[in-house]
Subunit: 350 residues, 2 copies
DNA sequence: CTGAAAGCGCTAACAG
DNA sequence: CTGTTAGCGCTTTCAG
């Protein structure tokens, strides 16, 4: 087992001082070419690499980003992470991941663990429980300590910080418009409880677009799923609710606020004898593996998770590397555009 | 912006020495109850938390694990990570994620970045390119430096370290046996090139099981996919190959070595007019979202990724926390059991 | 019971 | 051109 070389060891070996070695390796002009040569050769030979921890302590920055998400077994978050990682790596940052599991306590814990020097800043998408409790003290405190936060997807108006979002209202408007243009008359929405901001906004976009097209939105056609406490048989539970819903309403199109809802609705509808898209058109939100491989392949609006991740990382790193210390203001929120990916669950527009 | 308190600050504020504060907070018996009280109160008030980086430097351990995987947008890896995270957190460790993107260079880079003090040990699943090049110097070097590695899924016999795997031969045997028991006569396998060890082993299990049942394996019924350089239109490319394959052979069952292959094969077969499972049974490896929501829902063998992650983390942390320094031997490889999850692409056994 | 000092690995200001 | 010193935040002897 080879001991990792340190400056000290190299210094002793070469019979010079530690600072000489340090300077030589950083190519300081204070050092003679001769010694530089010598030091560099030795360093290469022993494969010297500076110790990150020591550097972090010295520089008071770790060059690592903390990413906290509710769930990693989830296509969207996964694409966001890969966007973050990629960009962060390019700029010399590492990524450390914390999972909240949708739990407030675990979110707080993760934040605290990492805030004690392990990371320079956070990228976070909030847990459902946090959204519900409306307890944001942990976020406020970390920002207060000078650790910047970038929120994405599930963001908060109440907290001022950089944000990356999709224009949920507009996007779901797009989706609903597509449905209308394809001939749908009775469009239902399957969404989340309103405390999930994205769910609320998407519902809003749905309603606005109906109005804009001269259709009166009906509470009747809104199915709000509360899936939080049903993780054991979530799927069966979902399918049941949807079955009931689809059976009892007179609908010819469904806009589902996420992929799972869309797929499950399709499944329920198929069991009820609906042909898709002839009898019932379906459009989902968030493009993932499921949509692409569903039967039939699902038309969705794509959130471009990778791009969101990249943007979030960029906002964060830019802020971290900004000189000025009085940067409490000028927070930016970038809106990532969305696209409708037409597959086979919607009708062509004539 | 509140300044994070340090021992120094508390010490000055309370007019005692830094070491007194440190000891008081760690409840040393060298300190009087009185001062302890005082210090603790102050610390709580200002929400003092020791700086992780300083601790890391001092203790020469970071309490964080480096996890390097080829791909994060991938259900299996995602479940593994969540298994690692969960267990690691319980034992007070953080997880830092590196993505190799199946590239050798990025794998090496990630390893090197993290090996310089950022982490205490690695959990890794190798990139395809690494497997192909058979260049393992980076692994050997990091182990040599005393940084333990746990490999999972894509592991190497050539490297001695802890490992977590599924018994690929046995498991794919199970799958094939299931197919035989369900009446299949001509069973094809869709697998990867042999340099991917799991692919090779699964092929082996397939062949052995055929032989055991008195069937002579035929190279003819093996489709080896090389998907490495086709990421642009991977899907179309895959489907084409499978279409050709299914069309020209006389088969009534397919064992696919991963989820995507299984789904795509099903799609191709459906287009060719096969009914599933009546005309063609299909069974996949790796249980993911795709399988569950496929049409029809796919019978698969589940790899229990979460369990694998947990086991890997446990092996690693146990090794890290072992006292003894002469631990070059006694590497363990734990084999996580697999299960067949019967859904609707296989026939019931009479 | 408390504090001064050394050291983890590194950098940088300042002497020499 | 090279070395000494101090310090990042913390723990831990070792004196007092």
């Amino acid at each position: 087992m080879k001991q990792k070389p340190t400056l000290k060891i190299i210094a002793k070996e070469l019979d010079v001082s530690v600072s000489t070695v340090s300077k030589a390796l950083r190519d300081s002009k204070e050092i003679s070419e001769d010694t530089k040569q010598k030091v560099r050769a030795f360093a290469k030979l022993y494969n010297y690499k500076p110790n990150n921890i020591a550097l972090s302590l010295k520089n008071r920055k770790t060059k690592t980003l903390g990413v906290i998400i509710p769930e990693i077994v989830h296509h969207f978050f996964t694409t966001v992470i890969s966007g973050i990682e990629n960009y962060a790596n390019q700029r010399g940052y590492n990524v450390i991941v914390g999972l909240s599991d949708e739990s407030f306590d675990r979110e707080v814990l993760n934040l605290e663990m990492l805030a004690n020097g392990s990371i320079d800043g956070f990228i976070i998408s909030l847990a459902k429980e946090t959204l519900q409790k409306k307890d944001y003290h942990h976020l406020i405190e970390t920002i207060d300590q000078g650790i910047p936060i970038v929120m994405f997807d599930r963001v908060l108006d109440e907290i001022s910080c950089d944000k990356v979002v999709v224009d949920d209202v507009e996007t779901s408007g797009k989706a609903v418009q597509k449905l209308i243009d394809s001939g749908a008359k009775n469009i239902a929405i399957i969404t989340t409880e309103d405390y999930v901001s994205v769910g609320r906004l998407r519902t809003e976009g749905y309603q606005q677009t109906l109005v804009k097209n001269g259709i009166t939105p009906s509470e009747n056609l809104i199915l709000r799923i509360d899936d939080q406490f049903n993780s054991d048989d979530l799927l069966g539970h979902l399918e049941n609710q949807m079955d009931q819903f689809i059976k009892t309403k007179q609908i010819d199109a469904i806009f589902a606020v996420n992929e799972l809802y869309a797929i499950t609705a399709m499944k329920a509808a198929r069991h009820l004898g609906f042909r898709i898209p002839e009898d019932l058109q379906v459009i989902g939100f968030t493009d993932g593996v499921l949509s692409k491989h569903a039967y039939p392949p699902l038309t969705t609006v794509s959130q471009h998770g990778k791009e969101m991740g990249k943007q979030a990382a960029e906002l964060l790193i830019d802020r971290l590397e900004k000189e000025t210390d009085q940067q409490d203001d000028h927070y930016r929120t970038v809106i990532v555009k969305t696209d409708i990916i037409e597959r086979e669950t919607t009708q062509a527009v004539d």
